[in-house]
């Protein structure tokens, strides 16, 4: 078979264009960080001497945490979509959010009982949320595994069932501990208020490591989508890849939600949007999701603290709900067209 019509440059041109899009996303992120530190309800002019202090102590950590959480959720969401071979999966699907909520609500209830509040609560709540998330994910994982093999369908259903059960528990505990409801409500809606550098530091480490691990397995995630037999045949180990991805995504999202609460739809939406921009290849999609997720949450938070005056989780859900429906419709229409 000779080289009729050349080996075709069009595919390498597409690859080049996608690399260009990645660079553009990087620029967007840098610009976002720089602009958003100046957005806030303090409404000061740049010449105000207090501004440096406010930006350094309040705005910059808040913007950075938003960036880290956005990047982590988007990247973990992308990994979950690959593991479940389903573009409607998100990082909370294995019980992270419901488990974290139970943890957060539990400490709220206990706190109300023994009189923990204020500073102490703002410190213990993330810890309990993290523990709740990790324990739940582990339980869901156990339910979805048989003889060392991960069955993604069972895993998905286990996640849904456990989430429903824990949701009821959370509601009950909120009902009992109505004194602390304010703090808990903020957390449940997802909020980046009152962020400090310690939180940024604690979040940065696992999220960045997790992102790097997912980058490393980009090509293996592509091959995983071909099905387990084919992935195995191409030299991968689908079973250990699935486990690694589940563990990494679980830890990343658990850390991400511990301080900020449940910020929905980022992990679902961003990988989707990025697929439209750089295509489905995970070696491109992972960095794009990280950059896009960070920029998105930075802007959503800026919007939440300036214009809309609501927790950031409300902003992402308000944007994410309709977007999800749009995707569903688009998929349905495409499906029918076949």
């Amino acid at each position: 078979m000779g080289k009729q019509a050349g080996s075709d440059d069009r595919f390498s041109r597409i690859r080049q264009r996608r690399v260009g899009m990645l660079l553009l996303l990087l620029d967007l992120l840098i610009v976002s960080v720089m602009l958003c530190v100046f957005i806030g309800y303090a409404g000061m002019s740049v010449s105000d001497p207090l501004i440096v202090q406010i930006i350094g102590a309040i705005r910059l950590p808040r913007v950075l945490l938003a960036g880290l959480v956005g990047a982590g959720l988007a990247c973990a969401g992308m990994a979950m979509q690959a593991v479940f071979r389903n573009s409607m999966a998100d990082p909370f699907i294995i019980g992270v959010s419901s488990g974290a909520a139970v943890g957060a609500a539990a400490i709220g209830m206990i706190g109300a009982g023994i009189g923990i509040g204020g500073i102490l609560l703002s410190f213990t709540q993330p810890m309990f949320a993290f523990l709740g998330a990790i324990i739940t994910v582990f339980a869901v994982y156990k339910l979805g595994t048989a003889k060392g093999k991960v069955h993604v369908d069972t895993l998905l259903l286990s996640g849904v069932a456990v989430a429903a059960f824990l949701g009821a528990m959370t509601s009950f505990m909120i009902f009992v501990a109505n004194k602390q409801y304010d703090i808990l409500a903020h957390w449940l809606l997802g909020s980046l208020q009152a962020t400090n550098w310690i939180e940024v530091g604690i979040t940065a480490f696992p999220v960045i490591i997790g992102i790097l691990i997912i980058f490393y397995y980009g090509r293996d995630l592509n091959v995983l989508l071909l099905g387990e037999e084919a992935a195995h045949n191409l030299g991968g180990n689908p079973e250990s890849l699935k486990k690694t991805m589940l563990a990494v995504a679980a830890i990343m999202t658990s850390v991400a939600v511990a301080f900020t609460g449940i910020i929905g739809f980022v992990g679902l939406m961003i990988p989707h949007m990025m697929r439209l921009v750089v295509g489905p290849d995970h070696r491109m999609l992972a960095p794009a999701s990280v950059l896009g997720g960070a920029s998105f949450l930075i802007w959503a938070d800026a919007l939440s603290r300036s214009v809309m005056m609501v927790p950031v989780g409300v902003v992402t859900a308000l944007l994410g709900g309709p977007f999800f429906l749009f995707l569903l419709r688009r998929k349905k229409l495409r499906g029918d067209g076949e």
Binding site: M1, R219, L225, E229, A230, L234, G235, P280
Partner: protein, 418 residues
């Protein structure tokens, strides 16, 4: 290159799926693994590709065990086409095929080489998928998708291609497209092992068949050696007639009607037929419990072939000859032994006019006589009206005309009290 499977055994949950399977596959063979659902053929395929590890026994390629082979070497030896290839993500056909190059890149971060681009273009041209290389995989038709998956497998540059029911979700166009492609690849020297269900497709395209039943190889050889009525009834529990496919001369299997078999009562019914008019009547009468006989039929007539396959007693005449006195009297003997006689709607010429005359005798002997499609005799009369006259006489003297097979069976039953 030679693939050898030695004493392979595997169980799941204490149930033995494969029981000491031994099989060897030569280079350039196109082998189909066949057998009923749950017989272990997909499991065997998965052992060959080292996706499953057997409890004992080995799969050897040129005396090297696949179970200890490095992943990359294995991926360049076997390429796998799984049963289903769904894709929820928007990969183009080109990107799908490019994934087949994975075992050829040195590290996971090394970029695509010119060799990769060329290899993908080449396999996409030879699978006829190049023209839609930039279209989205999930938007392609079933046959196109399967060809892309085969192209992806070929991009691995394997020595052996393993396929799990490659045609199962395709329409007939897609099935032939895929099988034609596989045959071309096989002619080019590629060894192919495919799990298949369609016996006729397999016998048409494959050089060897291994028939698997309850974890054992029951029969292995060329299609005509394996697909015998005895093997098929033993393994699939279905009565079949085995014929040569008139187009390709390959073995072709026709399943017998199994849905409506009545208890056998053995009432004798004689069928006067020829030219394909009576074989199917004999088959239906057998299903209704009768013991039909037929005559006079020329050897090699399609009615003769079918009667033989159905083990129906038949009075024969040498090919293209007139009904001789000898055959005529044998035919009369069979009519005497029967309780009813069916005159099938065969074309009547000078050679077989005596079959109609035999029906007149049957009436005289008081047998119940049924005439199939008596009205159409004008179109089948090649003896200048003689046949039409006899049929007219038959009906006048009490023969019953019937237009439909089902009606025939019902009327015979009524008349004979069955």
């Amino acid at each position: 290159m030679k693939l050898e499977i030695k004493d392979l055994a595997l169980s799941f949950d204490g149930k033995k799926i494969l029981k000491d399977i031994s099989l060897s596959v030569e280079e350039g063979e196109f082998l189909s693994l066949m057998g009923p659902n749950g017989s272990g053929k997909t499991t065997l395929l998965r052992c060959i590709m080292n996706y499953l590890t057997p409890e004992h026994g080995a799969v050897l390629v040129d005396m090297k065990s696949v179970h200890t082979m490095p992943d990359r070497e294995l991926a360049q030896l076997f390429a796998v086409v799984p049963q289903t290839s769904q894709m929820d993500f928007e990969f183009t056909a080109y990107e799908m095929v490019m994934m087949g190059r994975t075992p050829h890149s040195r590290s996971r971060f090394s970029g695509l080489s010119k060799r990769d681009d060329e290899a993908v273009a080449e396999v996409m041209r030879c699978t006829n998928t190049w023209k839609f290389a930039d279209r989205e995989f999930s938007g392609l038709s079933g046959g196109e998708r399967q060809r892309v998956i085969i192209a992806r497998a070929l991009a691995q540059e394997p020595k052996i291609l393993l396929l799990d029911e490659p045609t199962v979700f395709l329409d007939i166009t897609g099935q032939l497209e895929i099988m034609d492609l596989l045959r071309e690849l096989n002619k080019g020297g590629l060894t192919i092992i495919a799990v298949m269900h369609d016996i006729n497709l397999a016998s048409r395209y494959c050089s060897k068949i291994a028939l698997i039943h309850e974890g054992r190889i029951e029969s292995h050889g060329k299609p005509e050696e394996v697909f015998t009525p005895e093997n098929i009834v033993r393994i699939y529990d279905v009565d079949v007639i085995v014929r040569k496919d008139p187009l390709t001369n390959s073995v072709s299997v026709i399943p017998r009607n199994t849905s409506s078999i009545s208890p056998m009562h053995g009432t004798r019914v004689h069928i006067l037929c020829g030219g394909g008019s009576g074989g199917h009547l004999a088959s239906d009468l057998i299903d209704a419990g009768y013991a039909p006989s037929a005559g006079v039929i020329n050897v090699l007539d399609s009615d003769f072939e079918l009667a033989k396959d159905l083990h129906v007693p038949v009075v024969t005449e040498i090919p293209f000859a007139q009904v001789s006195d000898d055959a005529y009297s044998q035919n009369q003997k069979m009519i005497r032994e029967s309780e009813a006689v069916v005159v099938a709607d065969f074309p009547v010429g000078p050679g077989n006019l005596r079959n109609l005359e035999a029906a007149m005798l049957a009436l005289e002997w008081g047998k119940a006589v049924f005439v199939m499609n008596g009205d159409s005799i004008g179109d089948r009369d090649f003896v200048g009206g003689k046949a039409g006259k006899i049929v007219g006489d038959l009906i006048r003297k009490g023969a019953v005309t019937v237009n439909e097979k089902r009606e025939l069976i019902a009327l015979i039953g009524k008349k004979l009290g069955r």
